[in-house]
């Protein structure tokens, strides 16, 4: 069990804010940390890792990591940290990067096997692809057999197929080592696949906390198929109206009645929704 009760003043780009987090995390849980940039997610990870100080308490399995008298050093916290930008030792081989953390060859080879890096163990890390480098970073983080694995958008720089592979490997290692994992992520499919709990931060405060489906499913009343968009145009055709709405990178058309059209104007932010029963789903031929 991890108990966190911290507060810290942060200097944001636009204005200062207070990071104010009270949180209990069960041992072995996989928690996704989500929220807009600048909401305090990375700072929270860095505080847990001991890279930043703050007021408050952090207890991990009844051990004090932080309180008013004590701040456990980074080296003594049993933490593995994977950053977005790999942060490997570029002058070392794959294996040397792992053994630098702990001289345990058997564990290093096992981790490289799980992440399909066995054949690259003696390669210089500079010769690896982004996905391979991030796997090395993941293996290196696991070398300490950490109690807590902290992942800061580890897969955001990778292409979708590599991302899927690494998601599976992260989940496999999380389970095998029984670590408590906290991952910063913005990707709903990643959060749904990996996490058992999502915590959403905004301006340094927790604004949502629950199971991924509960937190991520966009609903409009009992309608499960809901998107926000901008109304671009309303065209009258015969006695009906066609609304053209920009949703993300796409335009969609929705048929509305005259009464509905009356209340709308171009530029309005609108919600397009329908029931889960009404959508058609077809496999995309290119996948």
């Amino acid at each position: 069990m991890i108990n966190i009760n911290i507060n810290k003043k942060l200097h944001g780009v636009e204005e200062d804010m207070q990071l104010d987090v009270i949180l209990e995390i069960e041992k072995g849980d996989f928690v996704a940390l989500s929220g807009k940039s600048g909401s305090g997610k990375t700072t929270l990870l860095r505080i847990l890792a001991g890279l930043e100080t703050t007021n408050g308490i952090i207890h991990v399995d009844n051990e004090i990591w932080l309180d008013t008298h004590k701040c456990k050093s980074i080296q003594k916290r049993e933490i593995g940290f994977v950053f977005q930008d790999y942060a490997l030792f570029e002058n070392m081989s794959v294996l040397e990067n792992l053994l630098y953390v702990k001289k345990e060859l058997k564990l290093a080879d096992h981790l490289l096997e799980v992440t399909e890096l066995g054949e690259f163990r003696n390669r210089a890390v500079t010769t690896l692809s982004g996905g391979q480098k991030q796997r090395v970073a993941l293996c290196r983080a696991m070398m300490k057999r950490p109690k807590i694995l902290l992942l800061d958008e580890p897969l955001s720089a990778l292409d979708p197929s590599m991302r899927l592979k690494l998601q599976n490997e992260i989940l496999a290692l999380h389970k095998e080592f029984g670590t408590t994992t906290i991952m910063v992520s913005h990707d709903p499919s990643e959060i749904y696949r990996l996490a058992s709990r999502v915590i959403v931060l905004e301006n340094g405060k927790i604004i949502n906390d629950g199971k991924p489906k509960e937190v991520l499913l966009r609903t409009q009343g009992s309608q499960k198929f809901s998107f926000e968009g901008e109304l671009l145009e309303i065209k009258k055709v015969d006695i009906i109206y066609i609304a053209i709405v920009a949703i993300g990178q796409q335009l969609v058309e929705i048929v509305i009645s005259g009464d509905e059209a009356k209340d709308l104007k171009i530029g309005d932010l609108v919600n397009v929704s329908t029931k889960a029963f009404n959508g058609n789903l077809k496999k995309n031929q290119t996948t």
Binding site: T219, Q220, I240, D259
Partner: protein, 133 residues
């Protein structure tokens, strides 16, 4: 969008699938739904919606049809376009709109004052809001 205010009468569930029944006018409405908000419970007043294009109309209807929602109504307004017709119908104090093809409207000879039956499928009703009393 057609809006109907109704009261939850009954909720039947299998896993996260629900059939919700409502008291409305002198009849019962049925809605098919996945997860429901916790505020949707028996006795709650809710605002239901359905699109005009999802509302079917029958005249002098006899026999059986699978539509769960069948309401007796009266036509209060007919607007014909070139291809489509908008038919406004009244059920007690509630007005609904049905958009159908003009061919159907003419075939059925629909006029203001006609007594008709309105059909809405259970999966085409949605709860859009739970109303506080």
């Amino acid at each position: 969008m057609n809006t109907i205010v109704a009261e939850v009468k009954e909720i039947k569930s299998v896993d996260n699938l629900n059939i919700v029944k409502f008291y409305f006018a002198d009849t019962t409405l049925s809605m098919m739904s996945l997860e429901l908000s916790e505020r949707v419970k028996v006795g709650a007043k809710v605002k239901l919606i359905t699109k005009p294009t999802h509302v079917a109309i029958a005249k002098k209807f006899t026999g059986e049809v699978s539509y769960s929602n069948q309401l007796d109504a009266k036509i209060i307004h007919v607007e014909n376009g070139e291809l489509l017709s908008s038919i406004k119908i009244q059920i007690w104090e509630t007005t609904l709109e049905s958009i159908i093809t003009k061919d159907s409207s003419e075939r059925m000879n629909l006029h203001v004052g006609d007594e008709v039956t309105v059909f809405i499928k259970a999966n085409e009703l949605s709860i859009v809001e739970v109303l506080d009393d």
